[in-house]
Amino acid sequence: MQSSWSDIRHDFPILSRTVRDGRPLVYLDNAATTQKPNQVVDTITDYYRSHNANAHRAVYALAEESTKMYESARDKVAGFINARDRSEIIFVRGTTEAINMVAYAWGRANVGKGDVVVTTEYEHHSNIVPWQLLTQEKGASLRYILMDDEGCLMLDTLDDILDEGRTKLVAFSMMSNVLGTITDVEQITSRCRRAGVPTLVDGAQAVPHMRVDVESLGCDFFAFSGHKMMGPTGVGVLWARKSMLEKMRPFHGGGDMIREVHKYESTWNDLPYKFEAGTPNIADVVGLGAAVDYLERIGMGNVRRHERELTAYALAKMADVPGLTVYGPRDPDRRGGVISFNFADVHPHDVAQIMDEDGVAIRSGHHCAQVLMERLDVAATSRASFYVYNTKGEVDVLVGALRKVAEVFKLG
């Protein structure tokens, strides 16, 4: 595989772009969103140019084609994460909508006064704010699994909470979007199952970067976004165990999710349609199917291996830069390709701005993880995050750009 990594870049025309004053783009903000290969963009174009029609309800030829394309993307996604049943795949806008859907359609009915919802100190706002809104509305409380100084969860703090017996849900991410920490999902789900507590896994940073098997993870809900895995914006997935979905009330009301509507009451469609109200994002779901095909062709083991190698290389290089603080686990086996850092007393915004002039696109700020920023006691971090198309050469440019920051800010 190694020899073809550089070929991959040909599938992504944007990577040949220059920015600012003719600098080649070094795109290192993949944790925010990834670039899209021609295969995905062309699939969307082909859908619109040749097959576009509203799915599911009509008998004519185009509708038959669009329905087939839409539903076959569901099969691809189900296979990709090893869902037992295609009707467990619900298409949504992204991770955020998936988690909020659970908070409304499951949470509102199952969390009451005095109950507890648990999340962790390294969550994205998408996996904190919905639970704040829910617990505040219901008079329940929100509790946190605490994190140690290397950025790993301390599971004994979960045990303590579970022991109190009021926990209704434990929601946590499979990989931190700031620290790169890979969560030991099965450790958490097995403890929760023993305590009879359902679990939700935020897989936004995991699905794009490693093989995920929802059945063996043992969780009840699993959420991820298409745009972080080479798919288009505007599409994501909520996977949920069928037994959970069957017990849940619908979330949105409208077309496609009903069986029969009468003036004063209605009955619901089968899964997954009960949770897909309205015209779905057909073209982008089809595009997500193409992204799955693309990733499968590379192989998720290869994706992980490539990123692990880049990460190890970058961590080693960065260790040599005086004044640089890198957050998260030291061991590249325990983390994904996300490296957050701070450089002396220079604010991350200023770091990112100066790097941008060298064409290096990194993110700076709180990364939608302000609770983690408080825990780390920093206002913000800079973050570089990799994908399959990134190279060691680009890591070198990143590290080189740090020198310019040092110069502008007159560091040692």
């Binding site: 008998v59 496609d256 009955t267």
Partner: protein, 144 residues
């Protein structure tokens, strides 16, 4: 399939004069189902004596394919034992009308009555017999 293959004499006739159309008085079991995509809806009434389906009627609204398949299905069903009725397959209905190659969305029109029948049998069996009702429910749900 070409529409002249689909809409042959028998289907057009059944769509105007469906067999076993109507309601039974005092049915032993009755079930209602609908196709959420097109709005076809069917009620099926069964009379069961000594584990034999002695009478069956359906009513509802549906397209020619739905009406013809419901007609054929009820004709097949009448007089069958519960066990034999349970084993009626998709193809038993589709072949009778030469509809094996119908496109996916119309297959649901064709099989709505069979799904309704299986759910009715499920209801009856869970009420009157305890064993293996669940397998029938799964079979009905998995039909399409």
């Amino acid at each position: 399939m070409d529409s002249r293959d689909i809409y042959h004499e028998m289907i057009v006739d059944y769509s105007r004069n469906p067999a076993n159309f109507g309601r039974l008085e005092n049915p032993d079991v009755t079930h209602h189902d609908a196709n959420p995509l097109c709005g076809d809806s069917i009620d099926m009434d069964l009379k069961i004596d000594d584990s034999v389906i002695s009478d069956v009627k359906f009513h509802g609204r549906g397209c020619a394919i739905c009406m013809a398949c419901s007609s054929v299905l009820t004709e097949i069903t009448k007089g069958k034992t519960l066990d034999d009725a349970r084993s009626i397959s998709k193809n038993d209905v589709l072949e009778e009308l030469g509809l094996e190659r119908l496109q996916a969305i119309r297959i649901k029109c064709a099989l709505l009555s069979l799904k309704t029948l299986k759910m009715a049998l499920y209801k009856y069996i869970t009420e009157h017999m305890t064993e293996d009702a669940d397998s029938l429910k799964d079979e009905a749900a998995g039909l399409y």
